[in-house]
C-alpha cells in the first residue's frame, strides 16, 4: 500500500464520517443495510468507532441539557409495574392498596368462616356439656334411689327395733309387775322338752305368752297352736299363735279372770272350738 493509497483511504473514511451517516446510525434512523455497513466500518476503522462514541456522548450531553423532571407518579407507575429479583415488596403504596383490597373483599368471607367455626365449636362443647350433665343427673337419680332405699331400710330397721324395744319393755314390765303370775307349761309326750311361759294377771284378766323364752316345734302353714284355759274342768279358747323362732316380748292373748290350768294344742290354722287332745303339746297348772 503506497502513500497515495493510504491518503485516499483516510480521505474516504473522513468523508464517510462527514456524510452524517453516523449521526443517523446513533439515532436509529437507518435501514438494515445501512446499519450493517456502519457496523462493518466501525469494526474496520477505529476513526469510525471513535466518532460513533463521540456522537453518542453528544447525544447524552444534548439530552441532559434538555432534561425535564417528570412528576413523581411516573416513578410510582414505573415501580409498581415491574418486579425485582431482590425485593419482595416493590412499593409500599402498591402493597398498601393491595392490603386494602384484601381487607374489603375478604373480611366478610373470613368473618363468616370464623363465625361458622365458632358456632360449630360451641355446638360440640354444648353437646359434651349436655351429655355430662345428663350422666351426672342419672348418677344423682340412682344415688337418690339408693339413698331412699337405704333410708327405707333404716326406717324399717328403726321401726323394727322400736317394736323390739317396746316388746322387751312390756315384757320387762310384765316380769317386774307383781300382779302377774308366771305359769310354766311343760312338754307332753307329743313335744318333749317343749316349754312356754304364760303370764297371767287375774286382776286385769290379762294373759300373755313370753315369745322369747318359748321353746316349741315350728308349726307349718296349715296349723297353728291354740292356747286353752281350763276353768273348772272346761276348756276356754284364749287364741292362736305361731312359732317361728324369731319372736320376742309378750304376745297378748284373750282375756280371762280365772283359770286352774293352761294348755296348748296344735290345731288347724285359725283354731278349733274344742281342743284336739291328741295334739296336746304343753300343759301347766297355775
Amino acid at each position: 500500500m503506497n502513500y497515495v493509497n493510504i491518503l485516499n483511504k483516510l480521505e474516504n473514511i473522513k468523508s464517510y464520517i462527514e456524510s452524517g451517516i453516523l449521526e443517523l446510525y446513533v439515532l436509529g434512523d437507518l435501514n438494515a443495510d445501512e446499519r450493517s455497513e456502519v457496523e462493518a466500518m466501525s469494526k474496520l476503522h477505529s476513526e469510525v468507532r471513535d466518532e460513533l462514541e463521540q456522537i453518542e456522548i453528544d447525544l447524552g450531553n444534548i439530552a441532559e441539557s434538555l432534561q425535564v423532571m417528570p412528576s413523581d407518579n411516573v416513578r410510582e407507575g414505573f415501580f409498581n409495574s415491574i418486579k425485582f429479583s431482590d425485593e419482595e415488596i416493590i412499593n409500599p403504596i402498591a402493597s398498601k392498596q393491595e392490603a386494602k383490597v384484601v381487607s374489603i373483599t375478604q373480611k366478610p368471607t373470613n368473618f363468616y368462616k370464623y363465625a361458622f367455626a365458632a358456632s360449630l365449636a360451641l355446638l360440640v362443647v354444648s353437646i359434651i356439656a349436655l351429655v355430662n350433665v345428663n350422666n351426672s343427673l342419672n348418677n344423682t337419680k340412682q344415688q337418690i334411689i339408693a339413698l331412699q332405699s337405704s333410708n327405707q331400710n333404716f326406717a324399717n330397721r328403726v321401726n323394727y327395733l322400736n317394736q323390739e324395744v317396746t316388746k322387751t319393755t312390756s315384757a320387762l314390765d310384765i316380769y317386774s309387775n307383781t300382779d302377774y303370775k308366771m305359769v310354766k307349761l311343760d312338754g307332753t309326750d307329743n313335744a318333749k322338752g317343749a316349754k312356754i311361759m304364760v303370764a297371767f294377771n287375774s286382776k286385769m284378766q290379762k294373759v300373755g305368752l313370753d315369745m322369747k323364752s318359748m321353746n316349741m316345734p315350728k308349726n307349718d302353714s296349715e296349723h297353728q297352736y291354740q292356747l286353752w284355759a281350763l276353768v273348772d274342768g272346761k276348756p276356754v279358747d284364749l287364741g292362736v299363735f305361731d312359732m317361728d323362732g324369731n319372736q320376742i316380748g309378750f304376745k297378748e292373748m284373750k282375756n280371762i279372770g280365772q283359770a286352774q290350768t293352761f294348755a296348748v294344742t296344735l290345731e288347724p290354722r285359725g283354731g278349733s272350738v274344742n281342743p284336739t287332745l291328741e295334739k296336746l303339746m304343753v300343759i301347766g297348772n297355775i
Partner: protein, 183 residues
C-alpha cells in the same frame, strides 16, 4: 444540573443490575436518566401528561427489554433514547393521539415547517434555546426536527425539499457545533 443525591451506577454496573432485575438498577435508571428521557419525549409530545405516560411506558419497556440491548452496538443511553423516541413517535402518529390531541398531526406538522422556521420557533426549554442559538438557521431546523422532534432524515428531506445528502451533512455540522458548546 446533576443532583448529588442521585443514585448513580457506572454503565456496566447499571446494565448488570438491570439484567439481574435488581431494585438498585431501577433506582439508578430512574434517577440517572428519567429527566433526560423525559426531555427527549417531550420534544416529540408537547402534552405533559401524555409525555409522562409515554415515559413510564418506555421505562417499563426498557426494564423488560434489557436483554435486547447489545452493548457491542453502542451505549445504553443511546439505546434507551431510541426506545423512547420510537415510542413517542408511534404515539404521535397513532389515531388515538390525533383524535385526542389538539396538536397538529404529523403531516400538518411537516407541511408547516416553513412557517415554523420563520415564526413558530418556540423552544420551551432554556437548554434547547441556548443550544439552538449556537446553530446557523439551516442547521437549526434540521437538528431540531431530527434530534429533538423525531423526524427521520428522509421525512425532512421530503418536506423541506432538500437532498438527503444535504440533510445529513447539515445535521452533522450542527452536531459538531453543539459538540463545541459542550466542550
Amino acid at each position: 444540573m446533576i443532583n448529588t443525591k442521585r443514585k448513580f451506577l457506572e454503565e456496566p454496573d447499571l446494565i448488570l443490575a438491570l439484567q439481574e432485575r435488581k431494585k438498585i438498577g431501577a433506582d439508578a435508571l430512574y434517577e440517572m436518566y428519567s429527566g433526560s428521557l423525559m426531555g427527549i419525549v417531550q420534544r416529540v409530545i408537547e402534552d405533559k401528561e401524555i409525555a409522562e405516560d409515554v415515559l413510564q411506558e418506555g421505562l417499563i419497556k426498557i426494564w423488560n427489554g434489557i436483554q435486547q440491548y447489545d452493548p457491542t452496538k453502542g451505549r445504553l443511553f443511546t439505546w434507551m433514547v431510541n426506545v423512547m423516541r420510537n415510542l413517542a413517535i408511534d404515539k404521535v402518529r397513532s389515531k388515538d393521539y390525533r383524535n385526542h390531541s389538539k396538536n397538529q398531526d404529523i403531516e400538518n406538522h411537516v407541511n408547516s415547517i416553513d412557517e415554523r422556521r420563520n415564526s413558530e420557533y418556540k423552544p420551551e426549554h432554556l437548554g434547547v434555546k441556548d443550544l439552538l442559538q449556537k446553530l446557523r438557521p439551516e442547521q437549526k431546523v434540521i437538528v431540531d426536527m431530527i434530534y429533538f422532534q423525531g423526524f427521520t432524515h428522509v421525512e425532512v428531506s421530503d418536506e423541506l425539499a432538500i437532498p438527503l445528502g444535504t440533510v445529513k451533512t447539515r445535521l452533522r455540522m450542527g452536531i459538531i457545533e453543539l459538540r463545541k458548546y459542550f466542550k
